[in-house]
Symmetry: C2
Subunit: 263 residues, 2 copies
């Protein structure tokens, strides 16, 4: 066994930096310096214990630091590996161009074609219910007013990337294909425009935070990966809110792109 040549670091006992942080530093430098590539296996806990002559908890603490930063992922029974960054996807500003709806494409499908990925949707659920206060405010309805709630999960090439929940005022949705799991070509925006609610503009409010456990589970998120929360409000030509969409997006799968005029 030649051992791991990447383990060149030594603990500085005189340093006031905690030992587990020094170990994490060494490994982090190995990753960022390219001596360890995405997918590579880090030295096992046992190897690090021996190399640095420390207790196992100390090594584990260092490993957890790296996992918390999203640099590494542990796999039970196999080892700890350098995280590989999947290719990012791009959200164009013309995402909601009417042209796409005219072609019968929903935004997510049109977008995924650009990057050559296979888009799919599952966990579709349509029901009536009450919106959260922050949703009700944007939709300009009372919080105790019933609205139609459409939730679904989007995946690219089988990998879940986005959880979306749309809220539509009941009078615009009831009795239309918006209540169907599959709302038809062009998605629900096409159905709204068929009712004469011509879409005029959208606002998007973007937040970032760590996922809840439920979100991490549904999006198969590795530890240390934050999510985008994007709340989009769609307005028609009369300035009425016709839909609010609350979306949780895997932070490592998305890059949001916007174009702003200097006006």
């Amino acid at each position: 066994m030649a051992g791991h040549e990447i383990l060149v670091g030594q603990i500085d006992p005189a340093s006031d930096r905690a030992v587990f942080r020094q170990i994490a530093d060494h490994l982090r430098e190995a990753i960022e310096g390219g001596r360890l590539s995405p997918g590579d296996k880090l030295p096992s806990e046992a190897a690090l214990m021996q190399h640095y002559n420390v207790a196992r908890m100390t090594v584990r603490h260092a490993m957890q630091e790296l996992q918390g930063e999203g640099l590494a992922v542990a796999e039970h029974g196999r080892g700890v590996f350098v995280r590989s960054r999947p290719p990012v996807k791009r959200l164009a500003s013309d995402r909601f161009a009417r042209r796409h709806r005219k072609e019968g494409k929903a935004a997510f499908i049109a977008e995924s074609e650009v990057v050559g990925a296979k888009a799919s949707v599952d966990m579709i659920d349509v029901r009536e219910g009450s919106p959260l206060p922050e949703i009700a405010e944007r939709l300009k309805v009372r919080a105790d007013e019933a609205v139609v709630i459409r939730s679904r999960r989007y995946s690219l090439d089988g990998r879940p990337v986005e959880l979306a929940t749309s809220y539509i005022p009941a009078d615009l949705a009831l009795g239309t294909r918006i209540m169907d799991a599959n709302p038809g070509p062009g998605g629900i925006y096409a159905r709204l425009e068929e009712q004469g609610r011509t879409l005029d503009r959208f606002t998007e409010d973007v937040f970032t935070r760590m996922p809840t456990r439920e979100e991490a589970r549904l999006l198969l998120l590795a530890p240390g990966v934050p999510v985008f929360r994007l709340i989009r409000t769609a307005y028609d030509l009369d300035g009425r809110s016709v839909e609010v969409c609350d979306t949780i997006m895997s932070g490592d799968a998305y890059q949001l792109s916007y174009e702003l005029p200097a006006h």
Copy 2:
């Protein structure tokens, strides 16, 4: 000592859910259910050890889970507290309206006035150097070409919220006030327009990830708080890139707002 009434949970030894996760679940429910409010102190490690009859490491592990989720913050020597969400700041779409520059206001200053916060800038550094490849690509310069690099830190009411680094082609910056720590009224965009490079549009690419240690230090980020990385490119009427700004923003201090036409 009446003890903590919030500690109603008991460990289920039959459950296959790890003990430290069960403890974290109890505390999480207490926080999310409102029995513990932002700023409240969680039971001490000693209290939890006694209540659940477990070892200290088990309790600490539970606490770290909550801190990793951003729900709680430990303060050395004081206790662990429920995180209080500071008021969010809003990035309007008219952030770069020429009107603001005409009034001699830089974007950050104009914006902070809206929320009634006192804006300040420090750690200003101006130098010449080479851009990162992803910056060079946006700026349409070679990666080995010298550009002017302006970095600074923005704070609101004394709290650091944003680290920004601007890259400007050398021929547009050298010999102008852009090289000064204080570039004058209206900021560097006003200086660029004075040279006849009228700004036409901006693109913004938004990413989210966990902060590096350096970023966490400079932004005083609590554990479990992700950051936005926003790369803005400014174009003039000729379509030339006149500036690329790479910004790291505290994820819990910002809400990004965009307006999109349906065109």
